[in-house]
């Protein structure tokens, strides 16, 4: 094998590994949580711990918070869409909630509150 081909092959391998890094990381190094009935929704979060921490504040903005109702609402909103897609849409449409002054897309506030509600 020519040296040039060897180098090209090695470079391609490095590029593939680098590009798939975030996916691998997500698949193999994702934090594990105890199962909850809301995991299909909560798995849309990158980091449930940060969300739960914000969720405490989010809950204050949702005085009638009911996890079953919220998860149903989020399932309806999210469906097969990513949280990013929904949050982006809500930002553009002005569907925002103020949680202790923090102006946040509605679905983000709801999912953060949900994360808090299942965090021991």
């Amino acid at each position: 094998m020519k040296r040039r081909n060897l180098l090209a092959g090695a470079s391609a391998f490095v590029i593939v590994v680098a590009a798939s890094g975030p996916l691998l990381k997500r698949r193999f190094f994702r934090k594990r949580y105890s199962p909850t009935p809301y995991d299909d929704v909560l798995n849309k979060l990158d980091d449930r711990e940060w969300a739960a921490q914000f969720g405490e504040t989010a809950l204050k903005a949702l005085p009638d918070f009911n996890p079953e109702r919220v998860v149903a609402q989020l399932r309806g909103q999210l469906g097969q869409k990513s949280l990013q897609m929904v949050a982006q849409y809500e930002a553009e449409a002005g569907q925002l909630v103020e949680a202790e002054g923090w102006l946040v897309p509605q679905s983000v506030v709801l999912i953060a509150a949900l994360a808090k509600s299942v965090t021991p």
Partner: protein, 519 residues
Amino acid sequence: MTAFLDARTLPDNTTLTPDLAIIGGGPAGISLALALKDSPFSVALLESGGLEFEPQTQKLYQGRETGVRYTALDQNRLRVFGGSTANHWGGFCRPLDTIDFEERSWVPNSGWPFGIGALKPYFARAQALVEAGPWMYDDTARHLNRADGEVMKLARGGVYTSFFQFSKTRDDNHPTWFGPRYFADLKAAPRVQPYLHASITGLRINRDANRIEQLDVATVTEMGGAGKRFTVKPRVIVLACGAIENARLLLASNDVMPAGVGNQNDLVGRFFADHPIPRDVATLVLFGGPVSSLYWNTNDINATTTIGDGSLVRAVFSPTESFIRGQHLMGSLTTVENPVKLDEVGTAAVVTTAQALGVDASDAHAYLLGVGLELLPDPERRVTLSGERDGLGMPRTALNVTISDADFLLYRKVLRELGRQLLASRLGMLRLSYRDRGGWMGGMTKDKQAWWGNHHLGTTRMSADPKKGVVDADGRVHGIENLFVAGSSVFPTYGSSNPTMNLIALALRLADHLKTVLT
């Protein structure tokens, strides 16, 4: 050439008879005198102060404040040649917006008797007098190069990046102090005679109450009492001593008109206005790194960005005209102030929101925001006379200051829109600091200071209708044929722009009118 005359050296009972007397040697009075210096008319420029600050003269400004906490009346302006440009001016310049001149259905008592087009011919000269560099303002972005920093690419919406330019004395970053800066120009003007230490104590009107016949003038002794007294009998008079003193002089001159000169409709002193500048109104978080230097400033004019051929500029957030119309808002300019460290809740809010939007916030930076607000016109925010008297026997000022809850609530809509645009552009997010009046008033009194722009406006408001304004579209006091007012006291509404450059443009317009009046 005319030397500056110290009124304390005039013989007692002197009578001066210039064509025009300008009362007040601040930016309005000086600009007016400079605009008339080549005219054939003799001009007396009467300034109460000297070339330098003098405590005994400054004490004439003492007064009483009621209502919302406000800056002390002897601290929020300067009685010295050059007026409050001396060292009370931050040098902020920005033209009024077109909408500021309009009568708006959602703003009671709004509207000028003319549009911005009447001032536009004078802006270039006003800009030159304040030495703010080439006229750029909202066109500034076109003059930027990469090293100047970038304008934030906010998502489409009701808030946009606007620009201040800054007054800048040559070879210095400090704003133009009109006294020393134009001293030589006035000295070289053969028909302009500046008088220092000449305090007006009364406007003497004729029995028919339609013409000022004489000005009573006094000097102040070192002990703060009355020294020499003399009179001025000009053909025409311009009051140019600031919105508080203009009203005070008119109200105190009540020997013929019991309510005061020009006050036949009980409007003199009413509608006082200023820009409240509450601090820490919101926290701005940018996900991707520090804010562009165009925005960031610590209120130190030396930290303001310099672009082009040396113009100092600062980017701010302004509501668009269509957003103001659609939401029925007042003017506001939101400024990026100091960097701030987020607490745990803030960090969690930022991380969660950024992740949800698919943005990396590992280099997020946070800043506190400030604002300058235009207030809804309020006739009860007003200058009246107190029962006390100053060293010259003049009634002292009483100032009642108000801010309505609506003033804060209207601005809150602007912050929410800015927050929405930041999220929609995935640039960052906002935390609004205040929900209720108590919170806003806390922002108005941070660090035990009263946070106001000290831009005194509105007490002799302009209207074509004598029942709605003290002066007409030419600045002439309704019903008084030879008395005019210059300065921001004639602004009926005032937007969010700082007044100095605008009031100078208006003074230059008045100068053109006076040339025809005096001929």
